[in-house]
Symmetry: C2
């Protein structure tokens, strides 16, 4: 494992109130499919203290390329399977989506 | 040093384009006043890949209490001295502020 942290991806998750316990459960028992990806260093799931802001999924990678390979990998689908299924069901029922997400990526410029 | 990461503070920095090189310089040569604070674990400065989003200053602490003590400490003033001075000068000249910031705090709920 390369421990030099250079590249960070943050998935900003906007979660409906009723879905928050389920969201936390999904990450508490996450599939860890990401952990074996080449270039993956670590991840943390951050819960906002104010109870209103977005959850953050922060992952560190050795490069942008490693991150991009993951987002188009079978492991990405596997790791998000249960959440994707919840969204699919909500769509099918014509309900509001339980969560929406937005990836932003960053370079570490100082420590 | 306690290496158990529990608490995360993120300072979201909205930086005017003309100020970005200066902002990056300040962090590239940061005072490291924060590093000796009790309960401080580490920090990273994240530059957005899209060139438009906010910079993120992400710091890990052993507890919320340690973080709060830092924000009201002499080290906080010391660590932000040059940035605060830039803002003061802009205000004095009646110019737009070169940057604005917003702290949000988080609990790590999964890794």
């Amino acid at each position: 494992m390369n421990t030099e942290k250079k590249f960070v991806a943050i998935n900003y998750i906007c979660c409906k109130d009723h879905y928050k316990p389920r969201f936390e459960e999904l990450f508490g028992s996450r599939a860890k499919a990401i952990d074996s990806m080449p270039g993956f260093i670590n991840m943390e799931v951050l819960k906002p203290a104010d109870g209103k802001s977005e959850y953050l999924i922060v992952s560190h990678w050795d490069s942008q390329e490693s991150f991009k390979k993951w987002t188009s990998s079978p492991e990405f689908i596997e790791g998000h399977k249960r959440g994707f299924e919840d969204i699919r069901i909500a769509k099918e029922k014509g309900e509001e989506l339980p969560m929406t997400s937005d990836f932003k990526t960053y370079e570490i410029i100082a420590k």
